[in-house]
């Protein structure tokens, strides 16, 4: 042993132990009960009235004390014009008799006006301050973020939690991309790739082909995506372009896709899909990219098929529908690529894909990539396997009509 402990330590170990425990009392100081906290669930950021200022909307869930149900909360939303995002926390502390807690924030809503100027500076606080996680979701508001977070939903739910639920349900439907703060920052760090953020907007009865009884009630709809260049919103993708982007970005998990051919409309349920790519030289000697999409789907709905078929005929018929679904996928992909070329923004990351597979070629085209992108050959190799067509074979028509009597 190097040195033994002093005699008093050896003789009175209990006293020493108690003295050490005293150090831990610090942990009890300043403790806060859950009722004393206000949990920030969502933060909306808009451009302020004054230049260089933000209008920050904080949506807090306040736990109700003494309620029958321990999980009951009430909505407490406040908007404040501040020079820095963190300034809103100070403002909240001056009007709320609870301590705000930012660690629960799950959604950042970015106002359209702010997005057209610069969102990167507004996001600085969230990637710097330790309470926030890089897993926090980003959404772009159609209009003001404040309006989105102040939406009076028919369910009376907090708008931030409603958006969170919609986003978290996405793997089942893959109808819009999911962008977390960390993912946005990673894409930002890539040369010549543009990040995308899904768009959230208010809808009312009768809008967007949605109707409901409470005509004054509002809903939040997430559809499409905004494309960003150096923190500025360049353009927005429509629903088809967004879905095409997701095929090419390999972020489709499951989804429904409609396909049409010769008076026939069918709905395929994509159960499994993967997108790969290869860089190859085409017949003109130009390097191009080929997206290889392999999809397994089932047919969920058929409209316009009235002919009655036996098992063998149905099998052949199902096989004949596979190219129809493949064409529908290709149509969405083309829409995304065309948009990318039109707006000179590589949100699909074609340049990054070229860099992965052919770094020498990438180094040649990198300096002028966005101009090169417009003429860059893109092709598709889409293989769809229809695994089944649901429970029955033929559509529900009478035997007289189908001639099968």
């Amino acid at each position: 042993m190097e040195k033994s402990f002093p005699k008093w330590v050896r003789n009175y170990p209990l006293i020493v132990f108690v003295l050490v425990l005293l150090l831990l009392i610090e942990g009890c100081g300043g403790k806060k009960e859950v009722e004393q906290l206000g949990f920030i669930m969502g933060i909306g950021i808009d451009s302020g009235k004054d230049p260089g200022k933000y209008k920050v909307t904080c949506q807090l869930a306040l736990p109700k004390s003494g309620g029958g149900n321990g999980t009951e909360t009430e909505d407490w939303t406040i908007t404040s014009e501040v020079s820095t995002i963190s300034g809103v926390i100070e403002n909240i502390s001056q009007v709320l008799n609870k301590s705000s807690f930012a660690g629960t924030a799950r959604i950042i809503v970015l106002g359209e006006g702010l997005a057209r100027s610069d969102i990167n500076e507004a996001l600085d606080h969230f990637q710097r301050y330790y309470d926030f996680r890089r897993t926090i979701y980003l959404v772009l508001a159609r209009g003001e973020a404040k309006d989105i977070l102040e939406t009076q939903l028919r369910t009376k739910q907090l708008p931030a939690l409603d958006i969170l639920g919609t986003i978290q349900g996405q793997p089942t439907f893959s109808s819009f991309p999911v962008t977390r703060l960390g993912h946005y920052l990673t894409i930002l760090g890539r040369a010549n790739q543009n990040p995308v953020i899904p768009v959230v907007q208010k809808t009312k009865h009768g809008e967007k082909e949605i109707e409901y009884a409470d005509e004054k009630g509002e809903e939040l709809l997430v559809e499409g995506a905004g494309v960003f260049e150096n923190g500025k919103l360049v353009d927005c993708l429509c629903d088809e372009e967004t879905k095409g982007f997701m095929w090419l970005d390999n972020t489709v998990k499951n989804r429904f896709i409609n396909a049409e051919t010769e008076g026939l409309i069918l709905s395929a349920w994509v159960r499994k899909t993967s997108t790969k790519f290869k860089i190859e030289t085409n017949a003109d000697g130009k390097e191009g990219i080929t997206f290889q999409i392999k999809t397994k789907a089932s047919i969920d709905e058929i409209k316009g098929q009235q002919k009655s078929m036996n098992l063998e005929e149905w099998k052949a018929y199902t096989k004949s529908l596979e190219p129809v679904v493949a064409q529908a996928i290709e149509k969405e992909c083309r829409a995304a690529v065309d948009k990318s070329k039109a707006i000179h923004a590589d949100f699909i990351g074609i340049g990054r894909k070229v860099e992965q597979k052919d770094p020498k070629f990438w180094n040649q085209v990198k300096p002028d990539w966005l101009n090169q992108l417009a003429d860059f050959p893109v092709s598709y190799d889409i293989q769809v396997t229809l695994e089944h067509t649901g429970l029955p074979l033929n559509s529900p028509v009478s035997p007289q009509k189908s001639g099968q009597e």
Binding site: M1, R133, G182
Partner: protein, 363 residues
């Protein structure tokens, strides 16, 4: 005289070499970019030849640390000078490492906790380990190091869902030069361990069979650290991309905050931080031991008051010399420009002169 078992040597070596390097190594990949995971191997592997040189001297000079061996090989005057430089460097560097741990907690889970509370707690633990002896530090490492390792492995597993696609490719697109260049910036991590090993020699078993065993354990310890650190850099690149990995001061802490298990379990970063604190304590305590051994070898200081003086000097350095980002830059500067040249020159000189003397005597 206390003696570590060869297993304790293995665990203590791995724990000291690993230290808290996994916290900052991601931000140091620099120009290596997406090949940053390759910088670990060349930076850490040189601990093996230098460790072997030191262990080979042990057989000839049993019970002596490298300062005492230097006295026998190059004379008293030069060895005293080496010893004094050793004491200054290791005291300063070890204190900065302790300061780094305080900084990590201040930046993350405990931003309002006064620094002196960390220092009081850490200081108490370090003094406890020192007065209990190197064997207890070895046993402490045997308990804590597996926990740190399991923590790192759990983090690697849980962060897989956050991987970004294709961040690792293309491999070596810019050649090997950027990898070697970035690797050169973290070679001091190995020097940190070599300096500790220099003082540890008298506490190692020194039979011929033991020395052979120790050499094997050295290989294993270095391999464990290389594998762990490579994986840590790899998952950071896969999760953040190379640009973001470099931009973050402590990428591993951000990774901890990104862990979510089935949307129900999150906020586990505080638990991970406790693991990292354990790893840091071993490193800081090992430096405390190293300086005290060196003071004994150079000046013959043995009494308890010198340990208190060392504690006081460390406290002053942590509190007043460097804070925040300064600590990281200072650690890099001292490590690269002082620790590495000193270690390389010292070990090579002693090993080389000893070999030369042997040959002269035999020839």
């Amino acid at each position: 005289m206390e003696r570590l078992s060869t297993h304790q040597f293995l665990v203590l070596s791995a724990a000291v070499l690993l230290g808290t390097t996994y916290l900052s190594v991601g931000s140091l990949i620099g120009e290596a970019g997406r090949d940053g995971w390759m910088i670990i191997f060349p930076a850490f592997i040189w601990a093996v030849p230098f460790g072997l040189m030191i262990l080979s001297l042990m057989a000839k000079y049993p019970g002596k640390d490298l300062i005492k061996i230097s006295e026998r090989v190059v004379g008293k005057g030069l060895s005293k000078g080496i010893g004094i430089i050793y004491i200054i460097l290791v005291t300063y560097y070890g204190s900065l490492l302790a300061g780094l741990e305080v900084d990590i907690f201040n930046r993350t889970v405990l931003p309002l906790m006064p620094r002196f509370v960390f220092l009081l707690g850490g200081g108490f633990l370090t003094f406890y380990l020192f007065y209990s002896g190197i064997e207890v530090l070895g046993r402490f490492a045997e308990v804590v190091f597996p926990i740190v390792t399991v923590g790192l492995i759990l983090m690697i597993i849980f962060i897989i869902p956050r991987f970004e696609e294709g961040e690792l490719f293309p491999i070596l697109a810019n050649g090997i030069q950027p990898v070697l260049s970035s690797s050169g910036k973290i070679v001091h991590f190995s020097a940190e361990y070599i300096l500790f090993l220099a003082g540890l020699l008298p506490f190692l078993p020194n039979k011929a069979s033991d020395i052979k065993n120790l050499k094997q354990k050295l290989y294993i310890a270095v391999s464990i650290v290389i594998i762990l650190n490579t994986l840590i850099v790899l998952i950071q690149i896969l999760t953040f991309g190379p640009f973001e990995t470099t931009r973050m001061s402590f990428g591993l802490l951000a990774l901890g905050k990104m862990i979510e298990i089935s949307r129900t379990l999150s906020g586990v970063e505080s638990i991970f931080n406790l693991f990292w604190l354990g790893g840091s304590t071993i490193k800081v305590a090992s430096y405390f031991f190293a300086v005290m051994w060196a003071m004994k070898s150079v000046f013959g200081f043995k009494s308890r008051k010198w340990s208190f003086l060392l504690g006081f000097i460390s406290y002053i350095i942590i509190q007043y010399v460097a804070r925040g980002l300064e600590i990281s830059t200072e650690l890099g500067f001292v490590g690269r420009y002082f620790l590495v040249p000193f270690t390389v020159l010292w070990v090579l000189m002693i090993w080389g002169v000893d070999k030369w003397k042997n040959r002269s005597q035999n020839g």
